[in-house]
């Protein structure tokens, strides 16, 4: 199919380049672990040898937001920390994804108080929510697989925001 399109002109290279970019992205989703509560412990467990998130290419937890693809928010964000969290999200490079892990990150959880941010989606767009208090490591792995599925379907070149970036360079 690809070959015929190639001889007819147009589309072939773009399609294959998108496929290549997605292929690269989905096999190395570098997570930025933002563990602020007990969910962070479960995240460490998922990263360690027992569950081994490295199987899916996430073997390098990127503590620098500029090299990260997936922000895993594991735990409560209180209002004092909120600007820091927002700043870290803003520093991540563009095709980026946010996983909201656990009840606190998703909705504030049991902390319906003056000091707690009632869900990180009030600050940043969230792609995947994981329910649970805390969720088991399998749930985090499933979220990572969902991110990989999402990456496969994404269109990094024809997508407006990303293509604008390419034109600029």
């Amino acid at each position: 199919m690809g070959k015929i399109q190639a001889y007819n002109g147009g589309g072939w290279i773009a399609t294959k380049l998108e496929w290549l970019i997605n292929w690269g992205r989905k096999r190395s989703p570098w997570p930025l672990p933002f563990g602020t509560a007990c969910c962070g412990i479960e995240m460490m467990c998922a990263l360690a040898a027992g569950y081994d998130m490295a199987r899916f290419g996430a073997e390098r937890p990127s503590f620098s937001p500029r090299q990260a693809d997936v922000l895993i928010q594991a735990g409560t964000i209180n209002l004092k920390l909120a600007p820091v969290f927002k700043k870290i999200y803003d520093q991540m490079a563009e095709p980026k994804c946010v996983i909201s892990m656990g009840a606190c990150a998703s909705s504030g959880g049991v902390f319906r108080t003056y000091a707690t941010l009632q869900g990180i989606d009030k600050l940043v767009p969230v792609d995947i929510y994981i329910p649970g208090c805390p969720p088991r490591p399998e749930a985090l792995l499933q979220a990572l697989l969902m991110f990989i599925e999402k990456t496969e379907k994404s269109q990094p070149i024809t997508h407006k925001k990303y293509s604008d970036l390419l034109v600029g360079t």
């Binding site: 209002l79 004092k80 909120a82 600007p83 927002k86 700043k87 319906r112 108080t113 003056y114 000091a115």
Partner: protein, 189 residues
Amino acid sequence: MDLKKRVEQCLGPENFVVAMTECQGDLSVEVPKRNILDVMHLLRDTPDLGFNFLSDVFGVDNLDLNKPKKKPKKKEEGEGAEVEEESKEKGPLPPRFEVVYLLLCLERNERLQVKVRVEESDMEVDSLYLIWKASDWPEREAFDMYGIRFKGHPNLKRLLMWDEFSAYPLRKDYPLEGQGEERHLIYDD
């Protein structure tokens, strides 16, 4: 000698003892607010007592205890009942806030609770920073949560809440979900 007698011997002659209670082996002394520094110096430096370690400092808001109760609650038989009796004896209601200091004598493993009553109209207590450096953060926390100001504290600013926060959240009349205080997310690049 009994700890209670020793504390009385130490603080009694100067009239520093307002009240002294013992609950399950824990001694608690209430002292006048203006004398808190003298009291702490005495408690630390008297060889009989030697309370050389400050475990904690915290504030207490007695707003609900001071209100006249309509129905006696069964759950609050312990402290609530005591304070009620106390206020009946004294007549006027006790001041709204308290500052409680927990002291420990490391040599003899004895503990003492020192209380200071703080009126809502005069929310200033002398800081213990020059006696125990350990009072730095607990005093900041009490200031953050109750608005009790500590005179002489070198760095009295909020410890837990952000600087622009306008209320004192652990006061009993502060709603749990807040009063709509906003957190500004603008930051400098």
